[in-house]
Each structure stands twice: as structure tokens, then as C-alpha cells.
Symmetry: C2
Subunit: 207 residues, 2 copies
DNA sequence: CTATGTGAATTTATTCACAGCA
DNA sequence: TGCTGTGAATAAATTCACATAG
């Protein structure tokens, strides 16, 4: 079943595998079996094997998977083999948390620009990034920034999205709960914290 | 197909419907057709009808769905008909963003307690919540706090989760990228910002 | 005549079980 | 013998199409 389309749900799991494999690589481990990786990540071993099989033969029967080879390949599939620069829009509480978030690094992301509509924030430096006025968003075309994060409060999300698209961004991570409409070729992933919290009580046992 | 088990994917969509319906309710709208709601939310109308059909007959053919009735019912299913108090652990950048986040209110959540391991932060007041030492986590049993949010950096997530479970929490929203193991009856929903960002490049067109 | 509700068809994803390779 | 890779079986979710109710 080599080289066929990777199911969306498998793509969703690739960053999990990648994180785990990077961790193991730091421990100087050379290879790992699907079963050990399963125990480590909390994902079934047959699901891991199936997912890996979508993009080729990487395992050695009787031994397991070569960690470095797998890392390299998953990075390539996710297009993380090159680093990506990210523009942040909105430097409120959430935006500042994004700027300070250490977790982007392992995937090769660099939050390289920050914008805010509030003129009072312009010029301020947060985590080595100078906050610029939102009107300067157009200059992204010069830098090689291809991803945008929307962390503005309220209902400004759509106009920010429009500006990001005009500035040449290819993908958007949207923290606002508002629907964003963009050209089909632009991918939007929305994270709505409140919405995730909202389905937690459903699963709670009352006793 | 009345009153059968609601599929997980439908449960995931209920908070979206709820948000939209609450918005429409504020506009004093009385009822809405699945098609109008579909246009409004960007979800197919047949999927909306199917989802609603899982928990009963709420629509009137030729008219649409009664908004207030639907809101009340979805809230009940999600167990949001009663308000929930939430304990936050970790008051770093992310934790402070959570404390300031305005989006929890519409679902009836109240972040009522905050904890931090850093003694220097104890007693500090953020958004009207006094930060307590993490050792005081046990007192949750007295307050009616049933949800926890883990916003600690690094690898402390598991011990925080253990403490939250011991304090009687029923559900956890976990912002750390580390795997958390809890008793089966406790539900954990993990939000990993970096992981969501990591699958964005995959969908980017190169041209 | 409009819009719901739902069986049936289809698509997608997960799980199993085992042949075959090192 | 241990572990991969994958067809086949199962389960789950989505999409369709239309009978039916107001």
C-alpha cells in the first residue's frame, strides 16, 4: 500500500510520532519497535504500523524502525524539513503566551514577527520580537514568513485573516472562536479553548 | 433513531452549535432552519439535521428549529445546564492567558481558583483570582470545583494531574504536550498548540 | 410547498490476524 | 523467533435522497 494518500487522521498523529521520536533520538536510541513506541505514546501498535506503512517501508522485521530515518521522513511529509517563520497577530494575553511558548522550537517554527492594532504597543519588545503596527502586515512578503497565528480578541479575526492572506501567508492557526473564510488553497486550523473545555463535562461521570 | 448514543464527532460539534445558537438568541431570533444555521456556521445542513436527530425531534417541518429549546437541550446533553467551576494550575504566560480568557463565560465556566508552585506568586491576584500554593490543591473538595486546567511548563504535568485527581476533579484540560495517565473515569482533553501548528505546513500548497 | 428526520449508500478509519522477512 | 507490513473484517462517520409532517 506504499505511497498512497495519507488519511487525515494519520496526518493528525504524525506530529505526535515526531515528538516522541525526537525525544528518543535525544536519548541516543537507534531504533524502536512499534510496540515500544506504542507503550511510550499511548497509541496502539497496529495503528502505528498502519500509519507508517502509508508512506513506505521503514521497519526491519525482527528489529523495529530506525529512528533517525523515520524522523527525517515524517519531517519531510509534514514539510517541516525546512524551518518555518510565523507571524503573530494580537499581543494580548494569549498572544504573549504564544510568543513565550517554548514548544514550537522542536518542530522548527520561529515566531519572527508580531503585530498589534494598538499603537501604544508598537515598538515594544516581547521575547526578542518587536511589536509592529498591524498596518505594516504587508511587509511579510519580503521576509519568508509563511504561517500566521491569529490571537486577537473579539470579532476582528476575519479582517486579520484577509490581511494575512494578502500578505502571502499559506496557513493560519486561529485562536478566535469566529469563523474565518479564506481562499480554498489556504489552510486554517482553529483552536477554540472554550469549546474544548465545553465538551469535558459531557464525559464526566456523576458518581 | 431517537435517544441513541451520540457519536463522538457529533459531541465535538455540539459546542459549535451552542455558540451559534446563543448568538442568534441574543439577536432575538426565535427559530432557524438547518440550512440557515449551516450557512451561518459553515457546516452542512444534513449533518446538522443528523446530529440534532440523535437526541430527539426538535424541528418543525416547514419552519425550522426552536432556538431556545435547542439551546436548553444541548446544554443539558453537554452537562452545561449547571455552571462549572474550574481550577487552573500554572500561572505562567499561558495560565494568565487562561485566567483572562473571556470565552469561557458563555458556556458557564468560572475559573475560580489558581495554583502555582512558585512561592513568589502566592497571594498575587490575577483577574480577581488569588494565586495559591500548589500544596493547597487539596482544598478543592470543599469548593465545588470539578474541572482542572493544566498550564504548567515542562514535565510536571503528570504530578499535577495526580494531585487534581486526588482533589476530586472529574475532567482535565491539558495544555502540556506530555502524556497524562489518569483513572479511566477521568476525562482528559489535551490541547497541544505546537502540534496543531505542526500539521499546517502539510496542507500548504507550494505554488 | 418548505424543511425535518432518517433509512440506505458511501466513504473513511480502526482493528484484527497472519504471511513473510531478518 | 520477533516484528513488520498489509489484506480483510469491522466499525464509525458522512453523504445522499426522499418519505413525511406542519
Amino acid at each position: 500500500m506504499r505511497y498512497c494518500k495519507i488519511p487525515d487522521e494519520a496526518v493528525r498523529r504524525l506530529p505526535i510520532y515526531l515528538r516522541g521520536l525526537l525525544f528518543l533520538s535525544e536519548q541516543s536510541k537507534k531504533s524502536i519497535s512499534s510496540q515500544s513506541l506504542a507503550d511510550f505514546l499511548g497509541i496502539n501498535s497496529w495503528l502505528i504500523r498502519k500509519d507508517f506503512s502509508y508512506f513506505g517501508d521503514f521497519g526491519t522485521p525482527g528489529v523495529g524502525y530506525n529512528i533517525e530515518k523515520l524522523i527525517k521522513h515524517i519531517k519531510k511529509i509534514l514539510k517541516l524539513h525546512v524551518g518555518h517563520k510565523v507571524a503573530l497577530v494580537g499581543t494580548g494575553n494569549l498572544g504573549r503566551a504564544v510568543l513565550a511558548y517554548p514548544g514550537f522550537r522542536i518542530y522548527g517554527f520561529d515566531v519572527a514577527a508580531a503585530f498589534d492594532s494598538d499603537p501604544k504597543k508598537n515598538g515594544r519588545k516581547i521575547n526578542n520580537v518587536v511589536v509592529e503596527n498591524i498596518s505594516k502586515l504587508g511587509r511579510l512578503k519580503k521576509g519568508k514568513i509563511d504561517l500566521g497565528i491569529i490571537a486577537v480578541p473579539g470579532d476582528a479575526a476575519q479582517e486579520i485573516a484577509d490581511a494575512l492572506v494578502k500578505a502571502g501567508i499559506k496557513g493560519i492557526l486561529n485562536f478566535s472562536p469566529y469563523r474565518i473564510i479564506v481562499p480554498k488553497k489556504i489552510k486554517v486550523i482553529t483552536i477554540d479553548i472554550a469549546m474544548d473545555l465545553a465538551r469535558l463535562p459531557y464525559y464526566m461521570r456523576s458518581n
